[in-house]
């Protein structure tokens, strides 16, 4: 019976796991939403997030975000970019997106950028194209497509990316009705999520 999760469950779990891994709730919200959107498109967003959170914990690098929002190429201070922070910035910047797009260097677990790229397409009401060494993917404004490029991106650990408005814009895929995360990723997220729960008895001191 636990072979599938509702999108609400996977989103709540991903959100709590991100918080448990040390992200503020503000970014945990973004992580949860991104995982939900990937799962609805048939990609294992839970596995992607579990991979990212493990990586972030190893790096312990506060500089995983672009430094200047208005730069044409985004770089993190340490050479790597977190896809949640970078993706959130992409979405924030949608209305300021230059015609020739924006570059992003060394994005970790880049598949997690996809939901935010889809946000940009939705807000611009037109397709956007995401390219990287080894692949190119054009998203329409209606949501994530089902494309080989997405499965390919799922296997990429870190890459430079470029996003620009325009392109053919693949039609949105028919959404799944359930999330089917890989059990190991699920267990990893559950372990992190438990860290957001106060131990029984701890809150009583304050009652």
């Amino acid at each position: 019976m636990t072979d599938s999760l509702s999108f609400g469950e996977i989103e709540a779990l991903a959100r709590r796991a991100a918080r448990g891994a040390g992200l503020p709730w503000d970014l945990a919200d973004e992580a949860g939403r991104a995982v939900r959107i990937l799962c609805a498109a048939g990609l294992d967003g839970a596995a992607a997030l579990a991979g990212l959170l493990a990586e972030i914990r190893v790096r312990r690098d506060p500089g995983l975000a672009p430094v200047r929002a208005l730069d044409r190429v985004w770089r993190g201070a340490g050479g790597a970019l977190c896809p949640i922070r970078t993706g959130a910035s992409l979405s924030d910047m949608a209305r300021l997106m230059p015609a020739d797009g924006v570059g992003m260097e060394g994005v970790l677990v880049p598949v997690l950028i996809l939901p935010f790229a889809a946000d940009v397409a939705r807000m611009l009401e037109g397709p956007v194209t995401l390219s990287w060494r080894g692949g190119i993917l054009s998203l329409g404004p209606e949501g994530l497509p089902h494309a080989e490029g997405m499965d390919k991106m799922m296997r990429v650990h870190q890459t430079g990316l470029h996003l620009h408005p325009g392109g053919p814009g693949l039609p949105a895929a028919k959404a799944q009705t359930r999330a089917r995360p890989e059990p190991r990723a699920l267990a990893a997220l559950e372990a992190l999520a438990r860290r957001t729960r106060a131990p029984v008895g701890a809150a009583d001191a304050g009652d």
Binding site: F7, G8, D29, R68, T177, A198, P199, A202, A205, D207
Partner: protein, 517 residues
């Protein structure tokens, strides 16, 4: 409120007045509440309930399935009664043998149950410890339960939580929200409880028959109709409007728009005026005598409802004003019921921050909503005395003292006003024309506050004007506001973090048509 259409409402009450927690906590159910919306749909559909399976022993333990046809779709209540608990689920369509076997297993197991995408919601009901055995004993002896016990208990069954919208494995709200019968909030959850109310009566009657044999009688329509379903509402319900500002805005907006339309009426029909007076006379509250005396004089010649509301705003306590507001809506279904369709919203998830907005504009948005809080001294311990957190496997959050509490890593982000003030201060370090996207890059921990500020820019009733971590916070007021929208009557509200309420008291309680089992 696009799509609501004319006639135009008369000036809506300002959010700074309406969104005070004290006033929200005094709101009463009205005809836009979700229980009345469901009952109107059920009475319109005119279709009965079929009891397709009912197998229980002398203790009332066993299984049952009740099916209701809502026009385009059928839904089934699947129930397993064991011990003092009754596990219930609302299943999509009529369950087949495999689904019934699966649900029998999980609904009889430990709470929370875990179900599948063919279920819309689940709950665990408990028998009322006093009323249930009394009803069974009375019916077994061929008598009806004592009216004073019925009135005191209010319900045969009680539930602590109904899990739906993806929780406990149920189907996601997105997948069903476009169905007309489920579009308004909480319709599946309430439909399940409404069917469970029929089940509770049938179980009592079956137990009485097993005990009393030929001498046993059925529960009369009077007490059956008087009894509702009890709800224990906790802090999870208190947090809901805070966590869903866009949705809560649509609820408030619909209600305020409805009030505005009634106030805009040029004349009051005599029967409508009398109906409102009768409703008010039947409700207990401070200021009732003055309000009734005023209404006794009859409606003013022009804009009588606006005149009455304006007088009440000056002369009566807030609670009385809100009783009048809800009562005023009752006779005006044709004018306002369409607003019930405007009480759903997906922007809580879908709204994206506009990072191009300049810092100065975001600061102005925060000041517009939380200006009162910018003046306050936030170094005062009492201003940040409380913290919300989740503990262990509990489903409801806890609210406790920050000092000596579980600590920052466990705190839930419900300190909305404090967070807004902090964001406002950080924004103040940037030139006004800076795109807020840059601030968000530098300070990702202010995303939520900046997002809420932008939401408040288009959703005027999204934010409650109250510091939710203040030492003097009364969280039960948040619960009461939720219960008013749900359409539940407060039963006993003695505790700060839990309110007992009930739904469907006084609503029709039809007898299910018995088919097979």
């Amino acid at each position: 409120m696009s799509g609501a259409g004319p006639p135009p409402a008369r000036g809506l009450r300002p959010p700074a007045q309406v969104m005070q927690l004290a006033r929200l906590g005094d709101m009463r159910p009205c005809r836009l509440s979700f229980v009345p919306q469901l009952l109107r749909r059920l009475s319109l559909s005119g279709r009965g309930v079929e009891r397709v399976l009912f197998a229980c022993d002398a203790e009332g333990h066993g299984r049952a399935v009740y099916v209701i046809d809502l026009g385009t779709r059928r839904y089934a209540l699947v129930a397993v009664s064991a011990g003092d608990g009754i596990g219930v689920a609302l299943h999509e369509g009529v369950p087949g043998a495999a689904a019934l076997a699966r649900l029998s297993g999980c609904l009889g197991g430990p709470w929370p149950f875990r179900v599948s995408e063919t279920e819309l919601c689940v709950a665990r009901l408990e028998r009322d410890a006093i009323l249930w055995p009394h009803v069974v004993a009375a019916l077994a002896q061929g008598a009806q339960p004592r009216p004073e016990l019925v009135a005191q208990a209010g319900a045969l069954v009680w539930t602590g939580a109904v899990l739906a919208a993806g929780k406990a494995g149920t189907t996601d709200r997105d997948l069903i929200a476009d169905r007309a019968e489920l579009h308004a909030p909480y319709q599946a959850e309430l439909l399940m409880l409404w069917l469970a109310r029929l089940l509770a009566r049938d179980l009592c009657e079956a137990m009485a028959a097993a005990r009393g044999g030929a001498g046993a009688v059925a529960l009369a329509q009077g007490p059956a109709q008087a009894l509702g379903v009890g709800l224990w509402a906790g802090l999870g319900m208190a947090a809901f409007p805070v966590n869903h500002p866009c949705l809560f805005n649509t609820w408030m907006m619909a209600r305020e728009e409805a009030l505005g339309r009634v106030r805009a009426l040029d004349q009051a029909q005599g029967p409508a005026w009398r109906e409102v007076a009768e409703r008010i006379a039947a409700t207990e509250f401070e200021g009732r005598a003055a309000l009734l005396a005023r209404m006794e004089a009859g409606p003013a010649a022009r804009a009588p409802w606006a005149d009455l509301a304006a007088w009440a705003a000056q002369a009566l306590p807030v609670a009385a004003q809100e009783v009048l507001a809800s009562a005023m809506l009752e006779p005006h279904g044709a004018l306002i019921d369409g607003l019930g369709h405007c009480m759903s919203d997906t922007l809580d998830r879908d709204f994206r921050i506009d990072g191009a907005l300049p810092v100065g504009r975001v600061r102005a948005l925060i000041a517009g909503v939380h200006g009162w809080a910018l003046e306050r001294d936030w170094s005062e311990v009492s201003m940040t005395a409380l913290a919300w957190s989740m503990t262990g496997d509990e489903q409801d959050p806890r609210l406790g003292a920050r000092k000596g509490g579980p600590g920052a890593p466990f705190e839930l982000p419900l300190a909305v006003v404090h967070d807004a003030v902090r964001a406002w201060r950080v924004l103040g370090r940037y030139p006004d024309e800076t795109p807020v996207a840059q601030v968000l890059l530098d300070h990702p921990d202010h995303r939520r506050a900046i997002r809420r500020a932008q939401i408040a820019g288009f959703a005027p009733y999204a934010e409650i004007r109250e510091n939710l971590i203040d030492a003097d916070l009364r969280p039960e007021l948040l619960i009461r506001a939720m219960l008013a929208f749900l359409g539940a009557e407060v039963w006993t509200g003695g505790q700060a973090d839990r309110v007992a309420a009930r739904v469907f008291g006084g609503a029709p309680c039809p007898v299910a048509e018995r088919i097979g089992g």
